[in-house]
Symmetry: C2
Subunit: 293 residues, 2 copies
């Protein structure tokens, strides 16, 4: 709001020297993505959360493979979030299904370029070039290699279901393999956007995988890595509330495993009124207010 | 960098109308904290990660109380991160120790004010007023109430160790109690900054607690909630690397439990060169570069 006032002032006076903002000038604007990148790619705290999630997954799958709590975690056709039903497991070998970007791989090179490269570039073209030429500018998320190695030792097939492009299947197989968390083979243990007619929706690919395997665990950084049903939420608070539904709440850390990502994706939406419930909107009694952004 | 060029251009010409930036203008600058707030307070993904962490904690403590893996997780005096030793447990009742802010409570009111209130205010004064008058503008982190209730049912004493101010002990007790996650009683189950001479360092308070209790689990959103030793790291990457030390890596999700917080704290530091390792700094081959910020 303040910047808009400043811009209007500039427009009316025609000259920067005459603008008199009501507050001292802001410090040089940080890239709005910087804090998220500091957290996800640079911090000890995010690395610890990643290890914590992979640890929880490894223990959960270990119990499941010992027969204690082995159940399918892929929602069946016709399921709802209020009344979930899962694809049956009978007779199928065990698998675990993971998203790739910011779930098993950190896209350090792409995000470095996003922070330091020229702005206002076409995302899709740049991302496609990244898939093709950035193969060695990634790292496993902290704890991923140890966990995926452990799963494979338990006899669990590790399958990747990602919205990377099918036309770049080769480089993505190589990125996963060379990061030490493969194998990933397109059509067998790697499923990509373009494999079916569902675009970025992953339910179709999940159904294909669950037809062959008993999927006992899934991991992702976006809700769409677990079910496309979440995309139907009517508002930001409604979407958040769905994670607490009785049939859903118990899955977090017990079948569905979430990796941190405050840098991009469907988590980053909403204004102050969406983020903060009306009955939690405190104001400092001692200072004046500015308008809601 | 681009903004600096624009400012220099303005300074040289003296008039906004004559500035000709090399790129189209940026969209209105978002508050640098907005994305983190969208994630932590508004998103389904962060709520799911919070539930996942509390679930892992509940299962871990359940096992410990059944005698399977009961061990102290408070570092003893003289311990190092390379050679950790823990305060002995013999004969003491079990406790779990938690930070408060963004660990068991979401400070929605304070952050709403931070996003929408007047800028450039003194943080410490404003925070002290928040502790005193914001008692009902908080919520438990998702899953916290269920987990703390479960711990108390298992016979584990829940203790809070926070850098909230000792001079506001009453309102903080009330905030925790009224959020449904108490009791919290200063000096018994609530420890605050000002309780000893260590300021915001928590090791002294942890030692006081561990002298009375066998602390089998700790939870926090900052590394300082687990040990002050992390504060001695020599750089951003060195700090992150410490979470992977052999003796430390296995504690995440197995004794030490981390809650997400990309909004504030020691996780948010470093420039592009600190966040991204030199051998992961990719650039899009098809677009020009700007200088590192």
């Amino acid at each position: 709001m303040k910047r808009l006032v400043l811009l209007l002032t500039l427009a009316m006076t025609g000259c920067a020297g005459t603008a008199k903002p009501a507050f001292p000038p802001d410090p040089p604007a940080a890239d709005p993505k910087l804090a998220g990148m500091q957290y996800l790619y640079g911090s000890a705290e995010a690395a610890a959360i990643s290890r914590q999630a992979w640890s929880a997954l490894t223990f959960y799958v270990g119990e499941a493979m010992q027969g204690k709590d082995r159940r399918s975690v892929v929602l069946a056709e016709g399921a709802t979030l209020d009344d979930p039903k899962f694809v049956p497991c009978a007779g199928k070998p065990a698998a675990a299904v993971f998203d790739v970007d910011e779930t098993v791989l950190l896209n350090q090179g792409f995000e470095y370029d996003d922070l330091t490269g020229a702005p206002h570039r076409d995302f899709d073209d740049r991302w496609a070039r990244w898939e093709k030429t950035g193969v060695h500018a990634v790292s496993p998320t902290p704890g991923a290699k140890e966990a995926l190695d452990a799963l494979r030792r338990m006899g669990v097939t590790v399958i990747f279901n990602t919205n990377r492009n099918a036309f770049n299947a080769g480089p993505t197989e190589q990125a996963i393999d060379d990061a030490g968390i493969g194998p990933a083979k397109h059509g067998t243990t790697l499923f990509l956007a373009g494999d079916d007619a569902d675009g970025s929706g992953k339910d179709g690919r999940r159904a294909t995988i669950a037809a062959r395997y008993c999927v006992i665990a899934m991991g992702g950084d976006q809700l769409g890595d677990f079910s496309d049903l979440f995309a139907e939420a009517s508002s930001v608070p409604a979407r958040r509330a769905e994670t607490a539904l009785p049939a859903v709440a118990g899955l977090w850390g017990r079948g569905w495993f979430v990796m941190p990502n405050p840098v991009y994706g469907s988590a980053l939406q909403g204004g102050a009124g969406d983020i903060f419930p009306a009955d939690r909107q405190w104001h400092d009694p001692a200072t004046p207010r500015k308008e809601v952004q």
